[in-house]
Symmetry: C2
């Protein structure tokens, strides 16, 4: 439904525009911000004055060199706000504390045997409280927490298409329950979307406004960034690249179709190739698998070749459908595996992105590394508070501060 806006909302929007412009474009003077945003210098001054009490911006000493009065450079104060990232599956729970600059300030990791809500929620609460007291950050600087778990998320709630490794969470109101316990805004998202947002804020996506993030994990998912915002689809389930048809009539998939990409390109598929057995859809021994990659196990090297073929076709489709600035490959796999895949895929990609004069590499490796998942989770709250989204103009939108 459409909505109108007003003076209030417009300023809230402008505040975010100013903040995000400074965050992305490095040290910037008030005059620079005015030029970049189209706002008047006076307006920029006013808005920046509003940020001062919260300490969100740091003024650097006047920079000399050119003519005229030297500008005062502004940068984001990384210690002005914090966010928690929470990630778990059927093996472990990870909680990280991220600052506004994208640095990890604290981390807790716990083994988990039975990831039921009754077990996980208290553990999360304890870990968060412990991190707060250990790092001595003041609670009002915490903008929120993001949660990622191995489920699909539709309209804020966990859902699943096939069997799940965390079945107890189906339709459980995670965000609400955690909000009550932690007393801060809580966001739940798909792993791929969260990782894409993490990459957008702090990683390889920083330079792009439109990219497709491929999250290679136990399955394979996609996070879509359009106009510097996540696109979650009409029902929150977009980006399911793993269930694109890769081999007509191929391997059966729990989703009900045959030949889905995920059955060929995923850690689960790699594991099957490694063990020379069909996929079991049970918990994987990831350490074993990582070791196999490290020792260049021939079955895994073989799998890499095959996986690259399948993935290339999927990327061609993605490029042809989205025409993004880049496709970014990441997820909880060793860097060497990502490199190996990219090396095999890139040279022979033909799509609309193959345009003349486009010499730049279109398939990039994610920068957030093995922790992309939990870093993505942590970036959800920061993203929500900082982005000059359309919805900021809406009445229901949430206050930046």
């Amino acid at each position: 439904m459409l909505f109108g806006t007003n003076l209030d909302r417009a300023q809230r929007f402008n505040r975010r525009v100013v903040l995000e412009t400074i965050r992305v474009n490095g040290p910037l003077s008030r005059a620079d911000v005015a030029r970049l945003t189209g706002l008047s210098a006076q307006t920029v001054t006013n808005i920046i004055d509003q940020f001062k009490p919260a300490g969100l911006l740091i003024e650097k000493p006047r920079r000399t060199g050119g003519r005229g009065q030297p500008p005062i450079d502004l940068v984001i104060n990384p210690s002005a706000a914090f966010s928690f990232g929470i990630s778990f599956d059927d093996r472990r729970l990870v909680v990280v504390l991220l600052d506004l600059g994208g640095e990890i300030r604290g981390q807790a990791e716990l083994p988990v045997a039975h990831p039921t809500p009754g077990v996980i929620l208290p553990l999360v609460e304890a870990a968060v409280n412990q991190l707060v007291s250990k790092t001595k950050i003041s609670p009002e600087l915490i903008w929120g927490a993001g949660v990622v778990m191995p489920v699909l998320v539709s309209q804020g709630h966990p859902t699943a298409l096939g069997p799940s490794s965390v079945p107890d969470w189906q339709d459980f109101p995670v965000a609400e329950k955690l909000r009550e316990r932690l007393n801060m805004p809580v966001f739940l998202d798909n792993d791929a979307t969260a990782a894409a947002i993490g990459e957008l804020l702090f990683g390889a996506g920083r330079q792009f406004s439109d990219f497709f993030y491929i999250y290679l994990g136990v399955g394979v998912g996609g996070g879509i960034i359009i106009s510097s915002r996540p696109y979650r689809g009409a029902f929150g389930m977009s980006g399911e690249i793993g269930h694109m048809m890769s081999v007509p009539g191929g391997r059966p998939c729990p989703c009900g179709n045959k030949g889905c990409l995920e059955r060929y390109v995923s850690l689960s598929a790699a594991d099957a190739a490694f063990r020379e057995q069909p996929e079991t859809f049970a918990a994987l021994d990831l350490d074993e698998l990582y070791k196999g990659f490290e020792t260049k196990n021939p079955r895994l090297m073989n799998w890499l070749d095959e996986a690259a073929e399948h993935l290339r076709n999927a990327i061609v489709s993605v490029e042809n459908l989205f025409d993004p600035q880049a496709v970014i490959l990441g997820g909880p796999v060793p860097d060497t595996v990502l490199d190996a895949l990219i090396e095999r895929i890139e040279p022979s990609l033909i799509s609309v992105s193959h345009r003349q004069g486009n010499a730049s590499s279109r398939l990039l490796k994610a920068e957030t590394g093995l922790d992309s998942r939990v870093l993505g989770a942590a970036s959800l709250a920061i993203f929500d508070s900082m982005t000059p989204d359309f919805s900021v103009l809406k009445k229901e939108a949430i206050e930046v501060e």
Copy 2:
């Protein structure tokens, strides 16, 4: 780049919100609009007063029945604005005059042998002038013209990946040249995107904010509507569903890959099946082909079965990637062909859109029919002037009225 907004832009945005809300939601009182948009009743009154001089809105007699003072219903005046649609290929040129209600007020159709700019531009100018004088509409009510031709459009200019049926237009500044001749805003777009916008404004897409339009023509293209706006990709070439890989290692495609969907699902592919010959990539005899469909030619019926298979896989991928509210199938093909395809595809579609409780049909037939292309072209200017887009808030945005 980010941009700020101001009071001025905010009102421009609100004006469009009010107008579009009334256009879509039928007769609405000022109070209704206030409730739907979140604007105050006073603001709605003010904005509607601004539209009165231009005659954009019509007040219907007070509606009685309920308690309280009866509301005054408002509807869009279809005769308050007009737009031209211009479409040509290597066979014919079509120019239509559309009103704000989506009705065709006038139409001109001319055969074309050599569609060079030198031939087409004067013909268009003459046709437009003739339609203006014949329908006696006043020139200041014309919001603009949209152009569609068989090329890909990237950043406002014609480009091509493979061979083109209108090679003389490569990188030709169509919009600029026509703007000079017609003295009105001119928009150039891909056929699929234009048809999708037409469907969004006046067709099956009216009820949706997120859908994928499949344009089945000589080739097959896709128009993406996200949040009620077209998504053209980072470089304007999104939606190229025709070059998704359908058969690994399959029929060679001029794009450089093998097994592209378009080599199996398109009028060109149908024609090849009809003639039992490989594709020639020369001009098709469409009338012959249409006749073949009408007489239920067995080779074409066979092609329908095969095409449906390929198209189904592509739609599964599209649904899994975009999670749209619907996929709409249209283009310059007989209704019976669209029906036949949908009938074969729909029942066995499995994707994330296959969610529980989603009984609604996900694959729909376009409503704009055979003329989807030129109607889409005509809707470009109307869309540009009416939609409460993000960009309206920008300094550079164009005035509504």
